[in-house]
């Protein structure tokens, strides 16, 4: 297939359509607008449904409806809009429904800025809704990966009946790169025999998150967490870049990882053996991969476009075996490769 020049936002949208998503519900917010705008043009062409909801909350509840009916459904937003969807994310988990949500992060807190940020790590990985549940969080780092992550997101969602979040940022949403939309071969997925599609010829299906009996709810949660153990075992992903002989290991994801790669190369030119581990799944977090590196390197430098959120997971993974330093920019500011290089040099 010939390559196209696409913005990250468009790439996710087109990949979702190619993945069979025919139900998109959204509400405008910068810097993710191109995603919804693209869907508004494309969905009618593929006989799908694009709906601009009256709010972010309405949009995520429409996703719940479509997902309960067994359809591949998606919504997208940016930081404050994703926060509004938290309730729906929790209900999706409580109902064990597969769905995909995209967060093209911008600076916060509050209305913040429309410039890129990674300050929603906690919201994506730790919270983003009440109750005992997790979302799978994928963090692409280039536009091709935005496409590939979207295919993966729908498959993981359907395989485990979970919500998958694609955690991007304004840089990845807005920047353009050539992409190939070729879809990998589809592995067989479990039938959606739980979906509410009309009970003709079978017993009725119920999609529900209300369990007034604590004994039953406890069991539901325990069963769900067994599923999470499976996900941790099968779906944890990370990229290792020049870590084989590294003395300093940078940990960064998404757009920060792109810049960090340049800094790692610059450090190598100066004779510093730097490497990079880039979590591609932020939940499940690549704990083992980072822990294994802790025996080899002198220190870790975590690069984040936030005041330092993922660093807590890196520290947990390293188990205090080695120092973990932070290189951070926040509020929509983007670290320069020079700043990261300086941080690498300081870590030695």
């Amino acid at each position: 297939m010939e390559k196209s020049l696409m913005k990250g936002n468009e790439a996710i949208a087109e990949a979702a359509i190619l993945a069979g998503c025919r139900h998109f519900f959204g509400y405008p917010i910068t810097p993710q607008n191109e995603l919804a705008a693209y869907m508004s043009r494309r969905m009618p062409q593929v006989e799908g449904t694009f709906l601009q909801a009256e709010s972010e909350i309405a949009a995520i509840n429409m996703v719940i409806g479509a997902a309960a009916a067994g359809k591949r459904a998606m919504t997208s937003s940016s930081s404050p809009g994703v926060a509004l969807k938290s309730e729906g994310l929790s209900y999706l988990a409580g109902c064990d429904l597969p769905a995909v949500i995209v967060n093209v992060q911008r600076g916060g807190p509050g209305l913040g800025t429309i410039q890129p940020s990674q300050a929603d790590y906690f919201m994506a990985v730790k919270g983003g809704g009440h109750g005992d549940f997790y979302k799978v969080v994928l963090a692409p780092s280039n536009i091709q990966e935005m496409v590939d992550c979207t295919y993966t997101a729908f498959d993981i969602a359907d395989r485990y009946r979970v919500t998958v979040m694609i955690l991007a940022d304004g840089i990845l949403g807005q920047m353009m790169e050539p992409v190939s939309l070729t879809k990998p071969e589809q592995k067989p997925l479990p039938a959606k025999d739980w979906a509410v599609t009309g009970k003709a010829g079978r017993n009725r299906n119920i999609v529900n998150s209300l369990y007034l009996s604590p004994e039953i709810l406890e069991q539901q949660n325990i069963i769900r967490f067994k599923k999470y153990d499976e996900i941790k075992k099968n779906e944890t992903r990370a990229e290792l870049y020049k870590t084989d002989d590294a003395e300093i290991c940078v940990v960064a994801y998404g757009a920060a990882a792109r810049i960090s790669k340049n800094a790692v190369d610059a450090a190598r030119e100066k004779g510093i053996r730097a490497g990079l581990i880039r979590p591609i799944t932020l939940w499940p977090f690549p704990n083992k991969e980072i822990f294994d590196l802790a025996d080899k390197v002198k220190a870790f430098t975590v690069v984040e476009m936030s005041m330092g959120q993922m660093i807590q997971d890196v520290e947990l993974a390293v188990k205090f075996k080695k120092p973990v330093n932070l290189c951070s920019r926040t509020g929509g500011m983007v670290p320069a490769p020079e700043q990261i290089l300086e941080s690498i040099e300081r870590s030695i």
């Binding site: 020049l5 429309i114 920047m175 790169e177 050539p178 792109r258 340049n262 490769p337």
Partner: protein, 218 residues
């Protein structure tokens, strides 16, 4: 009213890069060049990124500075009016993408006179990959801005991965767009890196220097 060129098109087609390069080219032979930024829809890649460069070439940049260069509030600077009032000015207007971006140009539709209105096209962008798709976007822009487009700038490229062959083979697409619309093909662009390879093989070639270099480029 001076001489005005208006650059519009599908978003991500390369309008801003072309507007900046065109202004620099015009500044070689004209004393009073204005680059007016009418883009109220693109939050990230703006003419303001090239403000210093434009200033060193004596080009006056008229861009919204409302809360910095990127506040999430669409506003057009009142100074744009001066491009219409100054008979000596040579102006390039960088319009926002698609019909949504072109809406801002509509505010000046009755003042445009014989301004040259050019649409940037790129066959590697999915929505303008075909003649049909390109003309659909063209009609939407024309309707939103209340203007008629006069010609096309073929800016077909795949970003950093563009090859000389991509540029050369895109001429056929651009000519088809031109024929189907009955509008002239004003020029083809090529980035600096590929200029020597493409020069002589494509007529009306315009050399583009890529100025916007961001930290996340790899």
């Amino acid at each position: 009213m001076g001489c005005i060129r208006i650059i519009l098109g599908h978003y991500g087609s390369g309008k801003t890069q072309i507007a900046v390069n065109l202004s620099l080219e015009l500044a070689k032979t004209n004393k009073k060049v204005i680059l007016a930024d009418l883009d109220i829809v693109n939050p990230y890649f703006r003419t303001s990124d090239s403000a210093e460069l434009l200033e060193t070439h004596g080009i006056r940049l008229i861009a919204s500075d409302f809360g910095g260069n990127n506040l999430d509030l669409p506003s057009i600077p009142p100074a744009v009016q001066s491009a219409f009032d100054d008979p000596e000015a040579v102006t390039v207007m960088d319009v926002g993408g698609d019909d949504r971006g072109a809406l801002a140009l509509g505010r000046y539709a009755d003042k445009l006179g014989d301004a040259d209105i050019l649409m940037v096209i790129n066959r590697f962008r999915p929505q303008t990959a075909t003649v049909e798709g390109t003309l659909e976007i063209m009609r939407e822009i024309e309707a939103a801005a209340h203007v008629k487009i006069h010609g096309f700038i073929n800016n077909s490229n795949l970003g950093a991965e563009t090859t000389a062959n991509d540029v050369i083979s895109s001429v056929k697409y651009a000519k088809s767009v031109s024929e189907a619309s009955g509008l002239p093909l004003v020029m083809h662009t090529v980035c600096d890196r590929l200029y020597n390879e493409v020069n002589g093989k494509v007529e009306s070639l315009f050399r583009l220097e890529i100025f916007s270099k961001k930290a996340w480029r790899i």
